[in-house]
Symmetry: C3
Subunit: 128 residues, 3 copies
């Protein structure tokens, strides 16, 4: 298992980690790459990494669906982050071939921070 | 890696691909099948493939949560499709045993088109 | 493939299954654990298993986004459960190392029941 660390800079942020992941698995052997965040207030997402407005719209939509301020029971002020990460998910599986990630033309891999800034870990395994 | 192509016929459509996927992996060896769409405006979903009203209700709910018309920043008119695919996800992992997909009685695998009609690819790997 | 059975007690319920899953894969060899529910009205989620208010807030948010009562087309009275399970997902991939699940400090694995009480199955495979 390979672990990379990502330092986020804001409470809510979509950080492209495609380059770091590609570098971490470069020339390894296997047929898929498993990505996992061992956290409960951030997630992993694949979406467009060309026009940054796309990820902005995704974050805005999550904020409309799950507002930060609401009468949540969890008293730490980050209940919305737990809910948003539940909708986005904490794991991803990306095809892998000839030592490289097989991503679509417009796809990037994002760490979706919902309760930063923090140092986050991404755990990477290459599956046979 | 096996790739199948799916031509969708509408802007929004749930296309059952269970049969094509089962055929593509038939008699291969492994313990799980990884499915992945290399796109950013369609997704992959498992749900009921018996009463078509179920998938209709799922598509309706996504449209209520993420309307097509809204003041999105992304100017190509398909921001809702990027958001919907983010909620549904771009990958699936299905158990595999004795050369067959292990799906529940009511389960089917759907390609969820949110910005068609287009030709879509599904990348399939059998994991050990 | 290993199968565990989980009997849920309410219509809607988040059942921690971390212990059962850890026991089922203990000392096996592999680099990731695939979990799958062969159902269409329950899901699998990773989130905080310390303060139960967190999972309560997640269930409440899903109920706000997808109310049980609505003019759904599916006539069995559980359309909301199909939609909620579509948002949460039916599979998970958890890193595995030295015979143990690699989960974050606060993470637990939950079976998310949206149409119980029922007996549910969770299918577990250890991937190489």
């Amino acid at each position: 298992m390979i672990e990379i660390k990502v330092r986020t800079a804001s409470r809510v942020e979509a950080r492209s980690i495609t380059g770091e992941v590609a570098q971490a698995v470069k020339n390894k052997e296997g047929s898929a790459v498993s990505l996992f965040v061992p956290h409960t207030t951030c997630g992993l997402l694949i979406n467009e990494d060309a026009d940054p407005a796309v990820i902005g719209d995704i974050l805005d939509a999550l904020n409309r669906l799950v507002p930060r301020s609401h009468s949540y029971k969890h008293a730490e002020g980050n209940a919305d982050a737990h809910i948003k990460s539940s909708l986005i998910g904490h794991s991803l599986l990306v095809p892998f071939s000839d030592g490289s990630l097989v991503l679509g033309t417009w796809q990037g891999i994002f760490l979706m921070e919902f309760d930063g800034p923090r140092e986050r870990k991404v755990q990477i395994s290459v599956l046979k």
